[in-house]
Symmetry: C2
Subunit: 430 residues, 2 copies
């Protein structure tokens, strides 16, 4: 005897249609393995007239209430994205006792706590594995296997588009505009690539990861972010000479005060020089990886395709099976969002830095510039001058220093007649 579960799908775009196909393909096997029979009962779409090959037209409706509020739907799968009107729809679904599976990182990063409270009050599940690195089961691991762990740091490459672009820049010496055009031609970047290249997408995902890993609620808005738009082809050349490549990283860390027992969280998204022997340096093209520093389990790395229709559909299916299984057993698992995190002032975060400045190539310039760094307590590991005359620039690699010191020093550079143009500044992760 199998347990029959009626699934209502909201949204039937690329991922929705792919998920519907995967569910049809895997239904019999899932029934055999788990005893759960997942029936796709209804699909809410905006435009009923659009041709949808492979989708039974009898399932379609343009009335979302007939999915969200219907008595003959047991579980909701949301795959449209965005916050309005999705947030209200999902709150209604949860309040009516329906578990929700969503891929909506933007929504969870901004309103995950409200949704998770609504789920807990109704005694049903809220799952969102797909929101972060698609089919790589890192969120479930954080919610379950690692729930007893003390996790001190997350370091991740969690945006496939930007990682593809940086990999191509590193390998082929292409500049940003050329590689963006290539990514767009391949369908790996959107016509408007802002969310991917600005770090906004990464910040949403990092907010979710940090909230689950540290059990303190971090919102996307809490996260200081820099994208990859200012990374130059020449930075790759220089980085390679020092034994680094450049990656867009998501980094979150807990700072625990042993005396007060209080903790602060530092969370940032930035392009960084990553040592070539660092495990994340080997994450190429549109692959993603998340590294977790666990006090007892050690350094765990999860690696896989971070996006794509099939990997996303796989994660949705995994969540749906868990939600259906919990429904059958009349149980649920609360999202372990904790209290609001206290964010550490970014000026107090410490990194080694890579600094590239255009300088006037006259005697005394290096000493003047390094004097400013020294005056702010920034100690220098190497100084290298690149080019001569009008084309001269200088690259500093610093010892660990606070971001505040660096920013203060850079602010003073603008007053120096020997420095002109913008300063390229990147963190270094060994």
């Amino acid at each position: 005897m199998s347990h029959h579960v009626r699934v209502g799908l909201i949204g039937c775009g690329n991922i929705g249609a792919s998920f519907a196909g995967l569910l049809a393909e895997r239904r019999a096997d899932v029934r055999g393995t788990t005893g759960i029979d997942l029936e796709l009962t209804r699909i809410a779409v905006k435009n009923l007239g659009k041709p949808r090959p492979g989708i039974d037209p009898a399932l379609l409706t343009d009335d979302t209430d007939s999915v969200v509020l219907a008595d003959d739907i047991d579980v909701i799968v949301e795959l449209i994205g965005g916050i309005d009107p999705v947030k209200d729809l999902l709150l209604e679904a949860l309040k009516s006792g329906k578990p929700v599976v969503t891929a909506n990182k933007e929504l969870i990063a901004a309103h995950g706590e409200e949704l998770s409270n609504a789920a807990a009050e109704a005694g049903v599940d809220l799952f969102f594995e797909t929101a972060v690195v698609a089919g790589v089961p890192v969120l479930r691991s954080l919610r379950e296997s690692l729930i007893g762990e003390s996790i001190s740091k997350i370091t991740g490459i969690i945006n496939g588009t930007s990682n593809f672009m940086l990999t191509r820049m590193a390998d082929e010496g292409l500049d940003y505009d050329a590689v963006l055009q290539r990514a767009q031609e391949l369908g790996l970047a959107e016509p408007d690539p802002t969310a991917d290249v600005s770090g906004a997408d990464v910040a949403s995902k990092l907010a979710i990861l940090a909230s689950l890993a540290f059990k303190r609620l971090v919102r996307a808005d809490d996260i200081e972010r820099e994208g990859i738009t200012e990374v130059k082809a020449e930075d790759f050349d220089i980085a390679a000479r020092f034994g680094y490549t450049i990656k867009l990283l998501a980094v979150a860390e807990v700072f625990r005060d042993a005396e007060t027992g209080q903790s602060e969280i530092g969370a940032q998204v930035f392009p960084a020089l990553v040592g070539l022997t660092h495990p994340l340096a080997a994450v190429r093209d549109s692959f993603n990886a998340v590294s977790l520093s666990c006090d007892a389990a050690g350094e765990l790395l999860f690696h896989g395709p971070g996006a794509g229709q099939l990997p996303s559909s796989s994660a949705v299916l995994g969540d749906l099976i868990a939600a259906a299984d919990h429904l059958r057993r009349d149980t649920h698992r609360r999202v372990p969002f904790g209290q609001r995190a206290v964010l550490r002032d970014p000026d107090r975060l410490v990194h080694s830095f890579y600094l590239r400045l255009r300088i006037v190539d006259v005697p005394g310039t290096l000493s003047e510039v390094s004097g400013v760094l020294g005056a702010h307590g920034v100690s220098i590991r190497t100084i290298t001058q690149q080019g001569r005359g009008d084309d001269a620039s200088v690259v500093f690699i610093t010892h660990p220093a606070s971001e505040g010191s660096l920013r203060a020093a850079i602010a003073e550079f603008s007053a120096l007649s020997s420095v002109h143009g913008d300063v390229s500044l990147m963190r270094i992760v060994e």
Copy 2:
């Protein structure tokens, strides 16, 4: 209000003592996060007189029944290992309605089905995350997140001792005996290293991984295995020249017959030449990694410390929290062991091969040897002669061929006057 769960521990050796310490350290946090209060209530040990720093002597008993059958114990954690008497103890515990958490790979690989049936009949959990790659949550991911996936292949480095030894051989040119001695001095290899270097430990872990990934029961005995004892320092040199390193791999693959719907599983443990750009080539020292080829989610890689007291304790704690949570909700999750797997005849498995033979350095030898390979349908990618005269050997790298063809060809080599001594044979994984 927290839910109080009384934990009975069997075994207080290195991992048992470490787990007891971790539980004490994490207890308050786990209670805060999950609402579950885990109390270590009793510990069964063989020798009551042995000093156990950090362990409350009042918890110790040498009467295992007072843990396994006691009314004041809710969950059993088993950390002694071996099959006798542990199997019977755990069956008793499960039958009396107590969930079991164990790190015992040997027991699960041999008797997992019987234990899992006993757990299912009693409606309680059987968890054993620690049995495979310690704190890396790959088993739970297979049991939960990936339960709806169709997984076609597992490739893993799942023994830290042998991976440490092979890494040192590759980096430092040490031979097997020297590196084994080093590993023993560092406490990374046992005084009797047989289980680690023979592939027996890997076979147990692969049996568990394959059973959960393919939902067909695979036993350690089903798995053809070769250890690392025959890997020579010179093989690393030659491998490196062709762009490979050498790793002890666990490989299991499903072969589905589209016409009959039947499937066969090929499962092997062997030292292999692994392409230097393969993700597993970068798994160094005592780290472990498991790569899963998923039809929808794509290639997923889990990487982390595969052993050690703290990583193992972390995995036990994760399992214990799940078992306690399920107990609180009066639910459990069945281990998805399926029917007994049909194993594919190893002779039918296909690989590219690396072959090194000592030959008599006279004209015609290469043609004679390659003629034997050709007669068995083994096509050759490269032939390289190493050394001259008495010290001559020849290295073949073949195109993919069945193991049966290779074995048949090698059997014929012994009849050739031009080949003397043993043949080094390794599979190649690109």
